[in-house]
């Protein structure tokens, strides 16, 4: 009750301030009048009585202030006054205010934008129901723990585990076939095979219909589909009666049984989902490890418990099927770790860089405020003399800071929302959940939170200095000189600024050098003037491998005759696109244990492919038209293959037994150059190339080397495909240059952002040095005048001032280098071909920073040099 009355009483006096004031005024006046009356009654003259009362009771105004200040509302009132006063001061110095607000907006904006990305990508739980229960299962064997799970093994794990609510498989081999959904022309849609209850396992609800059931799997080819949300909206106009409709996919009619509530780009780009056809021979394999498995742990089950469960099953499988399952087990990781883990360190490092940038912004502002505080010493001294307490003055200074940081925070939040939309467009395509990043309440709170923190950091030092000035500020001589304490603070701020910017610069330098090295890796093929396209032949019309071979022969025959075409070919797997399969094989004559074999990258190509890519032939012959389904099995290997598996031998004429191949026995007829297949940063690995005519998968990528304009080329290619078969179509037409560029989009992103932050940091640091030196010169005008009149030359003065500034720069650089050496190892995983302590970068960057600081020093130093001794002395 008491506090309630106190609050209402306080509010009343806030809002009816005048009346409350008047009442108090009248009450006090009456009080004094009565006291005077009393004294006069005792025989004093009116004059004496007045004087005596005043002596006893003190000043009426002071008493009023005391009563006033006792209520809590007075704090609000004075704060409001402080804020208004602060705003007025800021308006009077538009230049200062603009610089301060811009600096703040930069620092806060950069931090908020990066925080927004981190919040969505790293901090938010995955967009699935109970995401903490989800785990990702990989096949593990002695050579690798990144393999898939064989479909037959998957069924055993699914049926006999005791620690999972559900296990669901997803085939990472994306099958894409032509379909004619909208009715006007065929298009390639991306599909994905998933086992029953996949969406229930993942915790993604269906908007319409049902999840796949076990009965959907008991077939040779899928009969039912679940539509992704995007394609349902696009091609079916969001029709809620779509269930039961038949659609034609890959020449086969299938029934729609469900529509997803949302697409799940985190897991797959699939637009349409199909059930895994269990009766298909591929799905019966125990030796082919191509399924990825997602599991939902039972509530209360720990990862070690379920790992023990899985290991027991692996043990049983190995005993039952020693030929295929010995040595295999499952590796279990949280789904979140698998999806988000790889990008976390990159984002955290960029965030740290943004934090350092903000630190520099704070330092600069602290310096600005400190400079201003000297000019205002007198003002504060006068106020102190008039009875303002030190806390009141500090409060007032903080109020000014608060106005600034709120303005800076608002601008920063705006800049961040703008930056976030830029990031969504230009950010790396392989950064998960980037498209989900939106400014939200939490982010705005963050922006204002760090604004206030910033204000506290740069506002408090000068405020404390204000308070200290005290009465001494009133003395005439104190008017223009700066306390030594200020100079020390100011110098250490500059040193800190230089140290931090050097660290950022070195980080950026390392990333740039690493990126430069990365894009200058020779991938082993030539990317210019090469276009690629994707084509998946209709499974029904092209059921026979011979028909597929005929289609491609005709397509290549027609394309080579198009204008401007130099070479044409096709491959089952383009480099740097994430397409990747391993071919297990045995070398005849080598000893292998049970389920032991050798392994190398493996793909099918048409004869023109290697020439179109400019992959060089080092020995032997190309694959050519003589390699047909009926001729003896042949293959090409690359140099790395020859070195790894036949060191010091001539590989030509050697034979390999490929496991699960249509022609298990193949002869090596040629050796070609190495290429970077998985990533430019990965070592170039052993590769095998098999003629398409001898093993023809339905899905291939067309590769065309042409000098023609890409857009007319695309139209010509489409037209060519249509003339051969009007139901087939190309998709994903894009230059090879693009593919290479997007394969390095993450390092490009991080080096670009780092450079941006480092550039801003150096600019701010240069402004900082300049400000401090310019100020110091203006303070020392007098001293410089004396020196010059005593015979110091202009160059002496120049040297003195520059040296003073460069001492700070050197101290800062030294600390920065030590810091970079200490923290550089966090960059280690992001670097390619560069050590975190790369001396070249350290030296170059330090020289650059020195040059900038020298320039920032030189301008004020020149001003000092031009000081006219007479003027300077008269200035006093």
């Amino acid at each position: 009750m008491f506090w309630l009355r106190n609050i209402t009483g306080g509010l009343a006096s806030l809002f009816r301030k005048e009346r409350v004031d008047r009442e108090l005024d009248e009450e006090l006046r009456t009080y004094l009048a009565m006291a005077v009356d009393e004294k006069m009654k005792q025989g004093m003259s009116r004059q004496d009585a007045l004087r005596s009362v005043r002596l006893e009771q003190g000043n009426l105004e002071t008493t009023k202030e005391t009563v006033h200040a006792a209520g809590w509302e007075s704090l609000i009132e004075t704060s409001w006054q402080d804020l208004r006063f602060g705003a007025r001061l800021l308006r009077k110095n538009p230049g200062f205010t603009a610089v301060a607000v811009m600096t703040l907006a930069l620092g806060i904006g950069a931090n908020t934008a990066i925080f927004n990305v981190i919040q969505t990508v790293v901090l938010q739980p995955l967009p699935f129901a109970d995401p903490d229960q989800l785990v990702w299962l990989n096949g593990r064997m002695p050579q690798t723990d990144e393999a898939g799970v064989s479909p037959a093994d998957f069924l055993d794990y699914r049926d006999s585990n005791r620690t999972f609510d559900q296990l669901a498989g997803i085939s990472q081999t994306v099958m894409a076939g032509p379909s004619n959904l909208s009715g006007d022309k065929p298009e390639q849609v991306t599909t994905n095979l998933v086992s029953s209850v996949f969406f229930q396992t993942l915790g993604v609800p269906l908007l319409l219909g049902r999840d796949f059931q076990k009965s959907d799997e008991q077939i040779n080819t899928p009969q039912v589909v679940i539509l992704g949300n995007g394609i349902w909206k696009r091609d079916f106009a969001g029709d809620r009666n779509v269930l039961g409709h038949n659609i034609t996919l890959d020449g086969q009619s299938m029934t729609v049984v469900g529509v997803l509530s949302t697409d799940i780009p985190l897991i797959s780009q699939a637009q349409i989902w199909l059930p895994t056809p269990r009766l298909h021979f591929l799905m019966q394999l125990r030796g082919g490890h191509f399924l990825k498995v997602i599991g939902r742990l039972k509530q209360g089950v720990t990862v070690p418990q379920s790992q023990a469960d899985l290991n027991a099953i692996a043990q049983r499988l190995a005993e039952k099927y020693p030929d295929t399952d010995q040595g295999w087990s499952l590796r279990q990781r949280s789904l979140r770790e698998v999806l988000i883990g790889p990008v976390r360190p990159v984002l955290l490092i960029i965030w740290a860089a943004a934090g350092l940038l903000l630190l520099i912004a704070c330092t600069n502002l602290a310096n600005l405020f400190l400079t201003r505080s000297v000019g205002r010493q007198r003002e504060f001294a006068v106020r102190t003399a008039l009875g303002a307490t030190r806390s009141r003055i500090i409060r007032q200074a903080l109020a000014e800071t608060l106005m600034l940081v709120l303005a800076g925070g608002t601008m920063g939040a705006l800049a961040a929302s703008w930056g976030v939309s830029l990031l969504r467009v230009f950010g790396p395509s392989d950064l998960p959940r980037l498209q989900e990043v939106h400014v939200n309440l939490q982010v705005v709170t963050f922006a204002f939170g760090i604004s206030l923190l910033t204000g506290a950091m740069f506002g408090l030092i000068p405020a404390l200095q204000f308070g200290k000035a005290g009465f001494s500020g009133l003395k005439e001589s104190a008017r223009n000189s700066e306390p030594a304490a200020h100079r020390r603070i100011r110098s250490s701020l500059v040193v800190a600024e230089i140290a931090v910017s050097l660290m950022l610069l070195i980080g950026a330098g390392l990333l740039i050098k690493s990126f430069w090295l990365l894009i200058h890796v020779n991938p082993g093929f030539q990317t210019q003037h090469v276009s690629t396209a994707h084509l998946s032949l209709n499974g029904l019309s092209y059921n026979d491998p011979a028909s597929r071979v005929r289609f491609w022969q005709e397509l290549e025959g027609r394309v080579i005759n198009l204008p401007g075409i130099e070479a044409v070919g096709a491959t089952s797997e383009l480099p740097l696109t994430g397409q990747h399969s391993d071919g297990p094989f045995k070398i005849p004559g080598h000893k292998y244990g049970p389920s032991e074999f050798d392994d190398a990258h493996y793909r099918q190509v048409t004869p023109g492919y290697l020439a179109a890519m400019h992959i060089p032939l080092l020995a032997g012959r190309w694959l050519d038209q003589t390699d047909t389904a009926k001729s003896p099995g042949t293959l090409l290997v690359n140099e790395a293959f020859a070195k790894r598996f036949f060191p010091g031998q001539d590989v030509l004429g050697k034979h390999l037994d490929l496991l699960g191949d249509v022609q298990p026995h193949r002869e090596i007829v040629g050796v070609v150059g190495n290429i970077s297949h998985r990533a430019l940063s990965d070592p170039q690995e052993p590769e095998m190339y098999v003629a398409y005519a001898q093993y023809a998968p339905p899905t291939m990528s067309l590769v065309v080397r042409a000098v023609a304009d890409p857009s007319t080329l695309a139209a010509a290619l489409h037209e060519t495909v249509r003339t051969i078969d009007k139901d087939e179509t190309l998709s994903k037409i894009r230059p090879l240059d693009d593919i290479v560029a997007s394969s390095v989009s993450q390092p490009r992103f991080s080096s670009l952002l780092m450079s941006l932050f480092a550039g801003l940091a150096v600019t701010l640091a240069a402004i900082g040095i300049y400000g401090v030196m310019a100020y110091s010169v203006s303070q020392r005008t007098n001293e410089i005048g004396i020196r010059m009149s005593l015979g110091a030359g202009q160059s002496d003065v120049l040297k003195m001032v520059v040296w003073q500034g460069m001492k700070l720069a050197m101290a800062g650089a030294l600390i920065g280098i030590v810091g970079s050496v200490l923290f550089g190892r966090f960059l280690g995983t992001m670097l390619y071909g560069v050590k975190p302590s790369d001396p070249f970068t350290f030296v170059l960057v330090s020289i650059g920073l020195f040059a900038v600081s020298l320039a920032a020093n030189y301008i004020p130093a020149r001003r000092a040099m031009r000081v006219d001794p007479m003027t300077a002395l008269r200035y006093e």
Binding site: M1, F2, R5, N6, G9, G10, E23, L24, E26, E27, L28, T30, Y31, L32, A33, M34, A35, D37, E38, Q57, G58, T62, T63, T66, V67, A70, G71
Partner: protein, 110 residues
């Protein structure tokens, strides 16, 4: 606020005001004079602390104020004890008595 002696003095002044007002409604100056008289000059009340205390008591709802004409035909704000104020005074007085007795026992024990 953590200063104990201030709290004690404040509390004491509050109690003296409440006790004085329990006799009859009074204006500020009257209160000051009455407390001084009753304490035989031990306490002299400064206007500042008096009005701070009055504002506090009023906000706490222990007293209420009303503008009236004085015998010398001035306008003054007369303060009167409210019902919660009376209760508060009673409990405070009891508490005070207990404390004084306790302190006295301690002092006599030595």
């Amino acid at each position: 606020m953590a200063d104990k002696s201030t709290d004690l003095v404040q509390g004491t002044l509050d109690m003296l005001i409440l006790k004085t007002l329990a006799l009859e409604p009074m204006h500020g100056y009257g209160l000051a004079v009455r407390i001084e008289q009753m304490s035989k000059g031990v306490f002299t009340i400064n206007a500042g602390s008096l009005f701070v205390a009055l504002q506090r008591l009023q906000r706490a709802g222990l007293i209420k104020g009303e503008w009236k004409a004085t015998e010398n035909s001035r306008r003054a704000k007369y303060y009167a004890l409210t019902e919660p104020g009376r209760k508060h005074l009673n409990s405070e007085t009891r508490e005070w008595g207990r404390q004084v007795a306790a302190i006295a026992r301690i002092l006599e024990a030595s």
